[in-house]
Amino acid sequence: MNMNMGAAAVQTSTMPRPTGAPAASQTPAMPRQAGAAFTEAKTEAADAELVFDINKLNLHYGSFHGLKDVSIRIERNKIMALIGPSGCGKSTFLRTLNRMNDLIPYVSIDGLVCFDGKDIYGRNYDVTDLRKKVGMVFQKPNPFPKTVFDNITYGPKIHGKKNRKQLDEIVERTLKEVALWDEVKDRLHKPALGLSGGQQQRLCIARCLAVEPEVILMDEPTSALDPVATLKIEELMDGLREKYTIIIVTHNMQQAGRISNETAFFLHGEIVEIGDTETIFSTPTNKKTEEYITGRFG
């Protein structure tokens, strides 16, 4: 595990927490892996730049209480990992952030989910606009049964970009961003389903980037991939954090440790512990967290 602990951690433990931090988190604020200097420079802005502010979110699926009083604040240009055993609500939580749960009948939600300062469950909130800004990558790669080119341009076209030159640029830029350009540049007009699983997943990320989202939600994006493909996606995510905010659900503890800035541990629909990834993994305050990350249950 690349925990990147060191001087930086000690130095910045005096840093102020964002006000109104969720009650569940009892750990002091810790630095990001990007390094102390970078973190300090950004601290003031980061406080103001909350992407998601979720307050006492409750979700019921029929009579099942799926999420209980979940409160999280998610800062811009960070990677937040959601961990926890199967059925703990982390994927459900992720899907409340782009209102994907709307597709499921019998789901009711209360509490406040603010994205860029606006309640996304409020009246007249434009869901398509939300989903344009909050993209999603799914567990199983799901490229459309279209060509590579058409997969990527699908989103931009829907949002009104018709100019061929512009679309060509988007395709090249996004494919380069996901390090897929060299592999597929000669087969842009071939079916996307002919790509390997790892390539398909990177294509799905490129497709997501093509609509220029602010946030990318990733629902176990590497669980269907082999270790080599997984590594590629992780390297890719590390680069993406400069431009995007990433919230990732993962079953893979090492993955959460390697890539994320912050980690939230879910259990039975509640956040048991949330905070800096390094702290959570090295000195968890909750016994359940410790048991889970050391593999004693889950």
Partner: protein, 275 residues
């Protein structure tokens, strides 16, 4: 040993039964072809019937068949695909949908003569369309509607949820998702429905007998009466006019259906390649 024997004999029985089915089909087609093909000539295809069909060809009847079938498809396809999209994509399983669905299933099971009777009473008489291609096409479209709805709906159900999620997660509306992602995946299923529809329409006699008239002139507008090939066969045989012409028409109909099916197969295979 006994069980093995049983297994072998069961295999034998099933094999014989399936061969018998195939044999019956081959015998029928071979018989019709043998009776009909010798009478098919360029004159038969390009001339109008004379002496009520005893002599001459069946050009107007071919034209009438094509017109009525295309009209029925043109009416039934958008309605059928639309209804299927509503059932599969938009409706929540409620009482209203249940009723409509049951209704379409019942529609599929209604004997065709009843569509004919309805078409006669409603389109021909009440709507004053007279015996015409329009009346016939409308009645026929009612009959093939359930086929198209069902095959489209079945095919919509096979489209993985993950495609829909992928599209919606990019900010597409449900309508955009349906039209640009889901329906293109169903081209094959819809095409299958259309072919089944064509098959039913081309072979249909009872509906048209009461709605389209039976004229042996080339129809020039939607309001002209016409005659289809299956109707022609019925009349040639029932009225004892011409056995040869009847079989020749039958043979031609089989050939046409085979061609339509081959074209559809070709198209749907190419579609598969495109994906």
């Amino acid at each position: 040993m006994n069980r093995k024997l049983g297994d072998i004999s069961f295999y034998g029985i099933v094999l014989i039964l399936s061969l018998a089915t195939l044999a019956i089909l081959i015998v029928i087609i071979a018989y019709v072809m043998r009776q009909g093909l010798p009478h098919i000539s360029w004159e038969f295809l390009s001339q109008s019937p004379e002496h009520m069909g005893r002599e001459g060809g069946i050009l107007p009847i071919i034209v009438g068949t094509v017109f009525v079938t295309l009209l029925a498809l043109a009416i039934a396809t958008p309605i059928g695909v639309g209804a299927a999209v509503f059932f599969a994509e938009y409706s929540k399983e409620g009482r209203v949908v249940q009723v409509i669905r049951t209704f379409t299933e019942v529609l599929a099971g209604i004997p065709s003569i009843i569509f004919g009777l309805f078409g006669f009473a409603f389109f021909v008489v009440f709507m004053q369309m007279g015996w015409s291609i329009l009346s016939g096409g409308l009645s026929l479209s009612l009959m093939i509607l359930p086929t198209i709805i069902r095959s489209t709906e079945e095919s919509l159900k096979t489209v993985p949820l993950s495609y829909r999620e992928g599209s919606l997660s990019l900010g597409a509306t449900k309508w955009e998702t349906t039209v640009k992602v889901v329906l293109p995946c169903c081209r094959k299923g819809i095409l299958t429905g259309l072919i089944l529809g064509i098959g039913r329409a081309v072979g249909e006699t009872a509906v048209l007998y009461l709605t389209i008239g039976g004229s042996i002139r080339i129809p020039t507008s939607l309001f002209d009466p016409a005659r289809t090939m299956s109707m022609h066969m019925y009349m040639m045989t029932a009225e004892g006019i011409s056995r040869e012409k009847s079989f020749a028409t039958a043979a031609l109909l089989i050939v046409i259906i085979l061609i339509v099916n081959s074209i559809a197969n070709f198209i749907s295979n190419r579609m598969k390649g495109a994906q």
